[in-house]
Amino acid sequence: MIATDPAFRAALDGLELVDHPVQLRLRSRDFYWYSPILKAELDGKAADLIVVPRTVDEVVRVAAACARFGVPLVVRGGATGNYGQMVPLHGGVLLDMARLDRTLWIERGRGRFEAGVRLGDADVLCQEQGWELRMFPSTRRQATVGGYVCGGAAGVGSIRYGQLRDAGSVLALKVVTCEPVPRLIELRGVDIGKALHAYGTTSIVVEVELALAPAYPWVEMVAAFDDFAAASQFAQALGESDGIFLKLDSLMAWPLPRYFRGLEEETLPEGRHIVMIMVAAGNAGTVRDLVRERGGAVTLERRYVEDRAITPIYEYTWNHTTLQALKVDKTVTYLQTIFPLGANVEALIASHEMFGEEVMAHAEFQRRQGRTNCSSLQVVRYRDEARLWEIVRGMETLGIRLSNPHSYILEDKGARVLSADLQLAFKREADPLGLLNPGKMSRWTAT
């Protein structure tokens, strides 16, 4: 095995290497086991060697060695992905970015971070200077900045700032190519698309420059509704209220709240559908009024504080919703779907009626092209694969499109053709040997 070849090891002399089998197995996994399909496909996949670089120079050395010896190279951030984005399909080196974790600068609404900085740490550092991250995944405490831009798409904050791929969210990526003599390239503007959400298949992201937002005092709220349609319409109306400054607007159909540990019973009343909200403190009263007007009840209202001892409500939203359910019931899985703009609420209500409790509705409201829409991470009582695809086809009749979370293939996430073209072309240039995260970009594999 080349990764254990003495000549290859010699090329990495002086770097932190890990090759203990337990570590190799543990650190080669992400949250792909949400999916029974991916679980069957990816269980047992592992790297042959872990390298833990501390500087960009060390990353360059690893890339050079892999290129010279023809060793596959997969980059690991916090390993909080859900589709095996960072699971090495063909062994090789796992580049663990956890120690490449310096915050380079934060100023005037922009921050530049090394790829391995944890999002939670980045956010706190920004807040100390009056700024905060525009958006983060529900895995904020574990995920890294680099992992988020390579494997993520949106998150807490998207109700205000849209998607990670929207122009102006990510300002720059510094990448290392995988060549015998690797190059360092600064991607800005539209070029960011060459590496953004590419699962590290096109280059190794070592630095990330993000646009920030001014920090607000936030209030966490939970609103409960008897009626699912009323809850959906409320969540949409809330998202469309230009005068209400939001960070989170998440809808969960009963019985999803039954799985949520760590919140009081009165916060999650039996049989009620809930909306989880983060709102600027100044608009908490406005939300309260809107909840009442729409026939709901506010069951939780508290100031958001940075405190390890408290589970923030965002840890029940986005991809954490499924995790909370899985903690209680190993048989559930989930879907990831995109809704038709302008008709999303109708589709949401129709899908809830179509499948009942077999598909527990979970919608994350967010801005898309200036409008409020939702994507959904429905939790599914899994029977078998055939039934899962039947559900997907049923959704499609309602105009709801799948962004398949049961596939580790990049293009299966509904990547737009333009960015797929851009990424394929860049991979030819920056990873001519096809060593970066092999097997994930189907268009490369096909050529």
Binding site: G130, G189, A211, L212, P214, D242, G282
Partner: protein
Amino acid sequence: MDGDMKAIDWQAVAADLAPIECITDRALVRQKSRDFFWYSPVLNERLKGVRGDLVVLPTSEDEVVRTLAYCHASRIPVTPRGAGTGNYGQAMPIEGGVVLDLSRLDRFLSLKDGVARVQAGLKLMDLEAKSLPQGWELRFHPSTRRTATIGGFIAGGSGGVGSIQFGGLRSRGNVLGLRVITMEEKPRVLELRGEEVMQAIHAYGTNGIITELEIPLARAWPWHEAVVAFNDIGRASAFGNALGEADGITKKLISVFDWGAAQYFKPLLTHLPAGQAVALCLIAEPSREAFAVLANDSGGRIVFERAAAGDAEDIPPLHEFTWNHTTLWALKADRTITYLQCLFDGPDYLDKIARAIAIFGDETPMHLEFTRVEGHVAAFGLQLVRFTSEQRLYEIIAWLEAAGCPVADPHTFVLEDGGMKTIDEAQLAFKRQNDPLGLLNPGKMKAFSPTACPAAGRPA
């Protein structure tokens, strides 16, 4: 009622109100009875002779209450006034009487968690002078930020610079509370919260006197000004829409003008390519790069940019060329010009704009303010109009209305004929409760007719 007013000895009223400061000087009273109604030739004809009889300048809520009780007893009309920066005679006392100048009620009361509580007469600029050092700014403000008061804005305005982020005054959540004094024998002090505030927002002070208000502020950004030039207005408006819908680019202002309107921006002219359409934008510092890419991709060229201006520069802040300031620049050059206010909205709103331009051409030089309306991006048209006659003006308005572009007629001082279109039942009911005799800003709310109102005169 005009006749009744003449019988009153205003010097004596002033003496009765002492020590509340009053102005009786005719020239000063006339000055304090006017706003920017003369933007409209129609209003100019109708309102040019309007004047109050006495200006009262209360410095506390108690003095407001005393003034109102006195005027109620004397059946004297009272028209509240902020800084008089309205454009439709909102603050003009068309039946004479007292002009209640609230500019001395100007205390900044508190700022907590980004919520400011202030008195109504506080100037917007002074409000921000207090909030900016703490990192907060107004969510949106009119182009008259230097002079307008917050109470005047809320009672007479609708939106402005920042509405592309937060919508307008009528969008839920932008005004949290209002303190309102009623016009009764014993004036009551009301605290309106939540949606109750809509009863008094943009009601021209016809149904209560706003003395205090509570508004949520926005965290302040470092703003950057930019002007982008385009070969044609079509491209410029498409850019305005694209920028408005770009969720990752933080902006506070997107104003688009064709050359017919931009040619009047005298201090900016050295930077504006003749004959081109322009977009005037305020962009958050970290969004500059993405903004420049979008401008370029949209066929635009950045012809001017600078960090948001201080007050000392040759070129005024860019927002002073936008919203209702645009018409002012045009009027400085050409007194025959006036303007319109319409809403271009719906999935085909860019087409509506194109059709309006195609049919009216240089008769209505285009001026667009992109804004958020009910969760999406739309544009207000504040077209300039090369005025020929009132009849032609209303032909243009009729065409716009028929084309699905509702017009908030800026050539009327009547509340319902302006932006509101229909009788706002809540505002009308609120007036019946708070001003049964119809003494507050009379003549502005058409739907209201007062209960029997004996002749005016000083109380015995």
